[in-house]
Point group: D2
């Protein structure tokens, strides 16, 4: 339901226009000196803020209400939240029963019998990912102890793709532009395209690539708690995600084994592979190469453009115009969210496998 | 680890060249008249048998050793297994320490310290999916009570794709050809291509589309037990799967919201959508439209062609030739496996949501 | 770790002298009109307040920060908390490394390497049961929909026992006295005994009986998710509980089968048993008779009396005097806590078994 | 349902008069050299065999069908089973609808709508504990690596109690007598009493004490996955168990804190307690002292003596005489079962806490 993980358990709570968005993290080992600034910084990356994003302005200041003592984790559950400030519930009353095409309005109404908090999508709003990012920022601090680095960047928006970039491009360029694209020239085109579509009162999808470096060999459990399966499950929890592939993914479906197999070789006494078509995962277990996953986002469904729909109360066809705040493209803000979900899953496996020991020495 | 599901729990056991392959299904409601023939029929679909598949010949006869009484489920755990017959362990001793590129040999060795059963891939062999199919065949019988139908078919092999086919094509044509492709003409080309690559001692990947019809609105739990997330997790448990997408998937990442949103309309007093880009899932919950998922398989890694690799014992570079039985393409035999994983997940949610009541009346 | 339940999942957070005590309840069906006053009333029952209890004065005002909309549950996780007000951390610094005999100081220190929040016992304080009571009060409102009534009362303190009382005595008398004993005369003796031992700077244990009425037949899952097993697990989560028995419990170990077996008979077309030695549970499943459980509490370990102990930092023997606030007997305040744990477990099984439907109609 | 444990997961299957009784153990680390003789020996301890036990004669020969390779555990799920041989189903047809007082016949019938396997109690038979013992015997071999020793012995039968015995008495005397009592003189009286009651066609209850020695400090998770809570849950899965207490248990409810608190002192540089009223558990976590638990069994409900009951089909009152095989007292055969449940739980925590590493070096 609203928890993920086995030994590093993240429980999400809060609603888009409720009092707060938050998260409880259970299973974090004691003894981590928590850098709250880093958590805030990740939250800030996720925030709306420029003309490419929603006009909703939330301070999103993280507040930690349990689990930290004298600046260190204690082994107790860590509860983090941000109070909602900029809520406009009245807006949502007007179109209470008008189903936004492509949105969860319909399935939520059917599942919860009309009792769901529908304001701004309630639990189905991308706003709940603020909680994911708090947990992810904590996970990343634990993973840093193992020297694991997690990166994500935009590789495609509205059909505009990057060509190959280096890890250093990703490290250096991603935060330098509003598209979070590691290729600064392509980034400009993406931004231009988003603006154009926004002005059409429409929205765009795109693809994010997530990368985890220095992951030790051995994370992941056969046969059902695969590293790829758990990563996929976590990534599909991000609103608007419709596709996930590892390594060469669907492209590998068009190749021959002799082309796609990553050849093992020796380097400095360690076994590595020449290519990384597997995306760092063999048999559901990390093989020491970079974990590489591509995450496909559909265009945000909630658009100002007039659309046909149904009034679920009267069960008649009608039209809807979503007046108000919207993000024309989910992708740039989702970059830290993808990193967070990867961090949460890797942290869980790190604890399960004993790489992150329960009491940090 | 080796269990999946929350209320319909499937536990896998057995090894490729051990005594048996089996599965325990816990949580199956009492009172289902079990059709064992149907389970056997699904197992037979998964079996090797023609010149496109491995020469390993297993009878794969399902034996039920618990949970059934007088032909009905009792509410107790159902244990099903097939005894392994055609095992050739000696073959594997020779290349014990030669890592097959693209295979789990390396990660298994590292994770289990050399104690893993390496014969034929052991727990990492696609042979364990025989157990998945037993559980899936049971799940399908439960889903039939809700009128849910699950289908899968090959839509692409080695770059050869089908064009649009109807549901009836899928129902009628899939089992008529060795490629399990619903377009009989394209099927011939696929088969031709597999034969050609097989003769090159190489292998091919491909894509399977899974479809679930008549799924009621409301299966799936926000925010972490999404229907899409759980389906993805289950599908990534199939060996060689590297990509999963729902509905228009990665294609939606290249569209605009106004193009991708599925417009709601009324039909016979029910709410439907004109298109199904969402693949039947909105906000992680089924919306009553067909569930549509595409599953990308890499080419099978274990090929007879000579490849460079490493000897993990001596830590030196060397070469490997996988003499012996192999499948040149995993896709045709995986069609019933994809159906099984979909069935297992839908059954679990069917029970969780109360659509399949705990005691069948 | 800090969660309990499968479909009605209660996650506890907060520390004795941290910012707050709280709980997240996930899996509560949508559509329950929540009576917050009733939750507050249960919290008030748990509060210290008279001369038999700790002098710590906490307002314990419940605040709900997620999951409720327009007064109803929405199906989303419900987060409830009470902010800590009356904290005196300085007191605890002085005897930081002096292990209180019988307390978790030692095991917490060893498990968390000294990073645990030791102030007032931190996570090991009985104060965290305020969260249990919030969740239990919610559970009881759900169970009321099935007409299930949960009661608890003190049956023994410091060796002073009640004789038989009726259900109406329990309903009418328990809240009328500080011992929460249904026999008002025995209650006076218990209170007298507590005062006496308190003046000796010592503490007392006792026994609470929990009763659940109108529980339908069929709650509980064989073989490992027994109703008795899950109730026991939940009750042992209450600090100071050392013993749990159902029905005639240890007494039945001294009887013969012909004496202990509850004879079935017909009453108004329903099957009942003449006696209830089973405590309403046969084969781990409720049989429709009252669930009856006895819960044994040890005397509170934290007493003002001087005791020998060890300084865990210097690893030397020394003495400790716990100056400050203490409860001379845990039992009276634990009565609503026992009810809460029973409510949480029954609610979980009520949902799992389909008696409490996921969307309340 | 039919699984217990988080990282060392035991799944039970099989029925009293079905084909077999078995168990899947998932999460056992790779690299343990399994002593199958020891498993058989534990099974033999559980078997009926003398005139104090049922006349059902089962060979109970353990067969391992997965998870072991070259004599070592591989990290894969270990499936163990014993085929049922001595089944007499016809006996059970005659009294199909006659509810045995005190047995699960009634609750099983109601829960599974008559589809349950009722032969010999089906899933509710104590015969399923053969599977628990297989898993427990495996767990004990893992715990031996940590030098943990698990013992159990009969301390009371039909009101006849032992006085204090030493650990060596338990080690040396328990297997020397049919009552499994460490005091050989008291054992004679217990045996005499069982014979007497057996001849009355009646049954007896009793109490077993379980002890775990050399348990490291730190097993158990606050606040809901307590060591005591998980042990209690596992012990209540044994049929006929109605009461569980740790250390001084209910007796501590009659004492004062100053009497019950275990005083810490130093011994050879280690912290110990002078008494062990806590039963080795403080705050839900092991404190390094022996884990001591008392388990109360009711007399076996299935007795040959004529009893009043109800016919659940016709819903009329009638009488029942359970002709056939029965155990007059569950306690002696339950001694290895108590040890097994303790072993399973300690093993699970041993893995979770990292004391038993995932790959045994």
């Amino acid at each position: 339901m609203n928890s993920i993980g086995k030994e590093f358990v993240v429980t999400s709570f809060g609603e888009s226009h409720g009092k707060c968005i938050g998260v409880v993290v259970d299973g974090c080992p004691a003894g981590l000196e928590l850098d709250v600034e880093k958590i805030q910084k990740e939250l800030d990356r996720r925030k709306a803020g420029d003309d490419l994003t929603s006009s909703r302005k939330e301070e999103d200041k993280v507040e930690i209400i349990s689990g930290i003592f004298n600046g260190f984790t204690t082994g107790a559950p860590i509860t983090m939240l941000a109070w909602n400030k900029d809520v406009e519930p009245s807006e949502y009353e007007k179109r209470r029963f008008l189903l936004r095409p492509g949105h969860a309005d319909y399935t939520a109404y059917m599942k919860y019998g009309g009792f769901e908090d529908y304001r701004g999508g309630g639990r189905f709003s991308a706003r709940i990912t603020a909680g994911f990012v708090m947990a992810g920022a904590l996970a990343k601090q634990l993973l840093n102890l193992l020297n694991i680095e997690i990166l994500a960047h935009t590789i495609e928006i509205g059909g505009i793709k990057i060509s190959d970039v280096t890890i250093d491009d990703v490290r250096n360029n991603t935060e330098k532009n509003e598209a979070r694209c590691a290729d600064l020239k392509v980034a400009e085109k993406m931004i231009e395209r988003i603006r154009q579509v926004r002005d059409e009162k429409d929205s765009l999808g795109g693809i994010i690539e997530g990368i985890a470096l220095n992951v030790p060999v051995g994370l992941g459990e056969p046969v059902f708690d695969n590293l790829d399966g758990e990563l996929a499950k976590a990534l599909f929890a991000i609103p608007a995600v419709k596709a996930v592939e590892f390594g060469s993914g669907f492209r590998s479906s068009r190749t021959k084994g002799s082309e796609n197999n990553d050849i093992f070789f020796m380097e400095n006494g360690k076994i590595k592979t020449k290519t990384n078509n597997s995306g760092g995962i063999l048999g559901g277990i990390s093989n020491g190469m970079p974990i590489v996953v591509k995450v496909g986002f559909k265009p945000i469904s909630s658009i100002p453009k007039k659309q046909k729909t149904v009034d679920v109360k009267d069960m008649v066809e009608t039209e809807i115009e979503t007046i108000g705040r919207f993000d024309p493209c989910p992708v740039p803000r989702a970059v830290p969210i993808v990193e967070s979900m990867m961090g949460i899953v890797l942290c869980d496996f790190g604890i399960r496998t004993g790489f992150i020991s329960r009491v940090i020495k």
